[in-house]
């Protein structure tokens, strides 16, 4: 297997000439496809590596948990007097005991499967935002995800199809000028498809490790010509090539140097490098497809200055209508995978990049407070979101806690949301990426002027 790329170019010898591992840097950065695309009206494309335009640029990663994560299980309000009765068989034991939650602040505790995140909490780089929800108040996954991603608010038409663009793409459009990404775009989706959140008029890339061999540059060049009259295919090909070239370069790059001591001390179990040993990702011959594999790849993409500034990932498996479990079970498995992936991301990210990175973890809505009849939970409303990263002012749980007493529940069954998720996102976009509030109010989340950014989420 050639090292570097996730694609198995060159692995299938039956293809004959043209199927050797093409130098894809040449394909884009120099050459016929580039010229063809430029000639096709795609605007000027940099033909040489410009000097990194944004050294030290901040990084924002959004992880979308599809299927509605049970926020009351992920971060249990074990100090709430009604918690145990309301959660019934799904209640977790208090801190200290076998299988008990990991205490955060005397009120809330992390699910034991999220143990790796507890280390980040203790060193101040992990924050929980609880009793939060998008403006969506229905209980459809698909509608809820659209609202979460398109950012148009609850008033958007819910009839059919999806919006034309997502809030993160519109945010990219507001990034300060002067930053150009010669190799990658400022936005990247890890996965085969670009989530709605990142779709829109600003071109973005997407990448995932694939097993299909990449065709040679001659063919791609001819196809670029054929796609000239088809903007949908043409822009996808252009961005695909760009992502491919960038990913190859980033994965082939020398491993990051052993991290320097952190100003913000990293938790020993997760962050500290073993002396003389390269980071884990550098020893992996090629990326796999598990979430932790993909988060580690993303970290390697974010490490170079030429890397994307904003990235999106997705993780499913949260729709726990049955067999949700407590310490073990479907939800614990999903939480464990999430924590493992986030820890792998942090471990692979260069310390200098970690310091200017924030990861925002969101889901479409929460789940019912009470267990349903089949050992699971049904679609709810309020839930929790996470912030992780060296740029995050963490080590705390942000919650205007409504309580779990029955009268306090939303529609008698769900955690009452007391914070608009858009306020959290706006706080991150303003304080982390430096976007102006006016743009956030009007463009990123239209008609959201009444939703003020949450201050203080990001270290300054």
């Amino acid at each position: 297997m050639p090292s570097g790329s996730g694609r198995s170019s060159g692995s299938d010898r039956s293809h004959g000439p043209g199927w050797g591992r093409p130098d894809r840097r040449q394909v884009l950065l120099g050459l016929p496809v580039t010229l063809a695309l430029a000639a096709a009206g795609f605007g000027p494309m940099p033909l040489a590596l410009a000097a990194p335009a944004a050294p030290g640029a901040r990084r924002l990663v959004v992880v979308i948990l599809r299927g509605a994560m049970d926020g009351l299980a992920a971060v249990a309000p074990y100090g709430d007097p009604d918690y145990r009765e309301q959660r019934g068989p799904l209640a977790l034991a208090g801190p200290g005991g076998d299988g008990g939650v990991l205490d955060l602040d005397g009120r809330f505790g992390l699910h034991p499967a999220l143990a790796p995140l507890h280390d980040f909490y203790r060193n101040g780089t992990f924050a929980v935002i609880h009793a939060v929800a998008s403006p969506y108040r229905g209980r459809s996954h698909f509608d809820g995800q659209d609202v979460l991603e398109d950012g148009y608010g609850a008033a958007r038409a819910v009839v059919s199809g999806t919006g034309d663009s997502g809030w993160l793409n519109r945010a990219l459009g507001l990034l300060p000028p002067g930053r150009s990404w010669p190799e990658s775009r400022p936005g990247l989706a890890i996965g085969q498809t670009v989530p709605l959140m990142l779709r829109g008029t600003v071109p973005v890339g997407s990448w995932a490790p694939a097993a299909l061999p990449v065709p040679g540059p001659g063919l791609l060049d001819r196809l670029a010509g054929l796609y000239r009259g088809d903007p949908v295919l043409a822009s996808a090909l252009e961005e695909g090539l760009r992502s491919e070239v960038f990913a190859d370069a980033a994965l082939a790059a020398a491993p990051e140097p052993v991290p320097a001591p952190e100003p913000v001390p990293a938790p020993a179990s997760v962050m500290a490098p073993v002396a003389g040993m390269p980071p884990a990702a550098a020893t992996a011959p090629r990326p796999g497809n598990r979430f932790p594999d993909l988060t580690a790849v993303l970290a390697r993409f974010l490490n170079p200055d030429t890397g994307p500034q904003v990235a999106v990932m997705e993780l499913g498996g949260w729709d726990t209508h049955t067999g949700q479990g407590t310490v073990r079970g479907r939800l614990a498995d999903a939480l464990g995978l999430l924590a493992e992936g986030l820890a792998a991301f942090a471990r692979t990210l260069a310390p200098t990049v970690w310091r200017r990175t924030a990861v925002l973890v969101v889901t479409e809505f929460g789940r019912t407070v009470a267990a349903n009849g089949t050992g699971g939970t049904d679609h709810g409303t309020g839930g929790c979101a996470f912030l992780l990263g060296g740029a995050v002012a963490g080590g705390r749980v942000l919650a205007d806690w409504p309580g779990l007493a029955r009268p306090a529940l939303f529609e008698g069954r769900d955690l009452m949301p007391t914070l608009d998720l858009r306020a959290v996102i706006k706080g991150v976009l303003r304080d982390h990426l430096g976007l102006a509030t006016a743009g956030l109010d009007a463009m990123v989340f239209p008609d959201s002027g009444a939703v003020s950014p949450v201050p203080g989420l990001i270290r300054t």
Partner: protein, 521 residues
């Protein structure tokens, strides 16, 4: 081939088939497919029935449960082993069968994923499936975990089913009917993303979808919702009325998953005017709709693998969408489905989806309105709906508005070249293209819009697949012939020129397959 014949073949059908004469009367050709008897694809013979599978699945679950309790399976039975470890859990006999049937899949087969970098799945067995013989557990030589055996067998069965379905799509001479199967199967998605149904997805499509695509929507809806695959996939098999006898005994209760998705996805649509109270009421109506367990000897499992379990049914009257459903056991659900199948919101929802599939991602309102009216006027006659679609001018107009899904791309490429590829390879390739058969990411099914299917990474994979196919298919067909057969009526001069000037036959074939004209329909 006339432009209309090309549209009939590519937009309504699954692509031009090698050696097939162009239809002189494209509309008539399509209608004839609806009028004739549905041909059961040859590859379906010998595939097991859903009823048989679900019985064995429950047996395997129970065997696994016993094994987990420390009662190691022994040849010929599952009694406790003397001297074995003590059970970790109370004996199951203290728990009524009603509450336990269909318990969440201890038998989840290993995820149907491939090691990254593997383009093909392992070949399915050449002979009869490994593992237990139908109807009972195998005679085991030494210890073998019965769940593992069953999982492996279900994985093999999944590959056979996926292969048979792909084969049917590639070979059919009723491609419009086959596309309707694909459309309705996606509408009523059952996905191996819940591994418990991995062995059942094929039987679901064969038994619940196929027989009804030109029949009445109410029949299709009822068949889909009552099939054991759906009852397991959306958890209704375990949903129990809290005030039913089983609910009272076990403090178990409703699971509203199926009820919600029937309203949101299968019938009314998300804007169809229902509320949370309706979801709960419908979930209560559907309690007792389940799959047969080993202790259901007294219940009539019919022929489809459905049982109604009165002991789990929520007693009392229910109100759904303003209509009162007096306590009537199983009949409540049938009445509710009948009402939902005729609801105006259902008509609008289905008409929109159908127009989106056959006309454009943003379907013309006039076409939607026409289909909606046709649905209501015909009391949900899906054959009539398909004929109205054939007569809709929007479906025959304009450019190729729809991007092919990966599966459509693959099937149309193999139809036009007449190539035969091992089905397990095709399944592996489809996984790489993001559309492994029967594996939609959610109950909403595969998206039906270009925004989902055409992204940067997806585009690169499509081209990579076309190149792979081009190199394999170049030996079967001359590029110039392929050009005419595959895209002749719509080929642009630049595409013709690029194909004819390609440096190799393989690249020429690749260019035809990757051309915008072939990527669209």
């Amino acid at each position: 081939m006339s432009p209309a014949a090309f549209i009939a073949a590519s937009r309504f059908g699954l692509g031009v088939r090698a050696g097939e004469a162009a239809a002189d009367d494209p509309r008539g050709w399509l209608k004839a497919q609806l009028a004739g008897e549905a041909v059961v694809p040859a590859g379906f013979s010998g595939l097991p029935a859903g009823r048989e599978l679900v019985v064995r699945l429950v047996q395997a679950q129970e065997a696994g449960r016993e094994a987990r309790q420390g009662r190691t399976p022994v040849p010929g039975g599952f009694g406790p082993v003397a001297g074995g470890p003590a059970p970790l859990l109370p004996p199951r006999s203290s728990v009524p069968a009603d509450a336990e049937e269909g318990a969440e899949a201890p038998l989840a087969p290993p995820p149907l994923t491939l090691p990254s970098g593997t383009a093909v799945l392992a070949s399915p067995p050449a002979g009869p499936a490994r593992g237990p013989a139908p109807g009972g557990m195998p005679a085991l030589a030494g210890f073998q975990d019965p769940r593992k055996l069953f999982q492996r067998e279900m994985r093999d069965l999944y590959l056979r089913e996926a292969g048979a379905r792909l084969g049917a799509m590639i070979a059919t001479d009723q491609p419009f009917r086959e596309r309707l199967v694909m459309f309705w199967s996606n509408h009523f998605t059952v996905s191996v993303q819940r591994p418990v149904v991995a062995g059942l997805v094929g039987s679901f499509e064969r038994e619940a979808i196929r027989p009804h695509v030109t029949g009445r929507f109410e029949d299709l809806l009822r068949a889909a919702i009552r099939h054991p695959a759906m009852l397991l996939y959306l958890d209704n098999a375990r949903s129990i009325g809290p005030n039913s006898r089983a609910g009272q005994r076990n403090r178990r209760g409703l699971n509203e998953n199926l009820a919600r998705e029937v309203l949101e996805l299968h019938t009314l649509g998300v804007a169809g005017g229902y509320g949370q109270d309706d979801v709960r009421a419908f979930a209560a109506i559907l309690t007792g709709w389940s799959v047969p367990g080993s202790r259901d000897a007294g219940l009539d499992a019919g022929t489809g693998g459905f049982v109604f379990r009165p002991v789990a049914h929520e007693p009392g009257d229910k109100t759904l969408l303003g209509r009162r459903y007096p306590e009537a056991g199983e009949a409540e659900g049938l009445a509710a489905l009948a009402a939902l199948a005729r609801h105006p919101a259902t008509a609008h929802h289905l008409a929109t989806k159908m127009a989106r599939h056959f006309i454009a991602d943003e379907p013309p309102p006039a076409a939607v309105a026409r289909l909606e009216r046709a649905f209501l006027d015909s009391d949900g006659d899906l054959g009539h709906l398909a004929r109205v679609l054939i007569e809709s001018p929007e479906a025959w107009a304009g450019p190729q508005a729809k991007i092919k899904t990966p599966q459509e791309l693959m099937v149309s490429a193999l139809r036009v070249t007449g190539a035969g590829w091992p089905a397990d390879r095709l399944v592996g390739q489809l996984r790489q293209l993001g559309q492994m058969p029967f594996a939609a990411p959610s109950p909403a099914g595969w998206p039906d819009d270009a925004g989902h299917w055409i992204g940067p990474e997806a585009m690169m994979r499509r081209i990579a697949w076309c190149s792979l196919a081009g190199h394999r298919l170049a030996a079967l067909i001359r590029p110039a012939d392929l050009l005419e057969a595959a895209i002749g009526p719509v080929a642009r001069p630049e595409t013709r020129e690029a194909v004819l000037q390609a440096p190799s036959a393989a690249e020429a074939v690749t260019l035809v397959l990757a051309s915008p004209e072939f990527q669209r329909r």
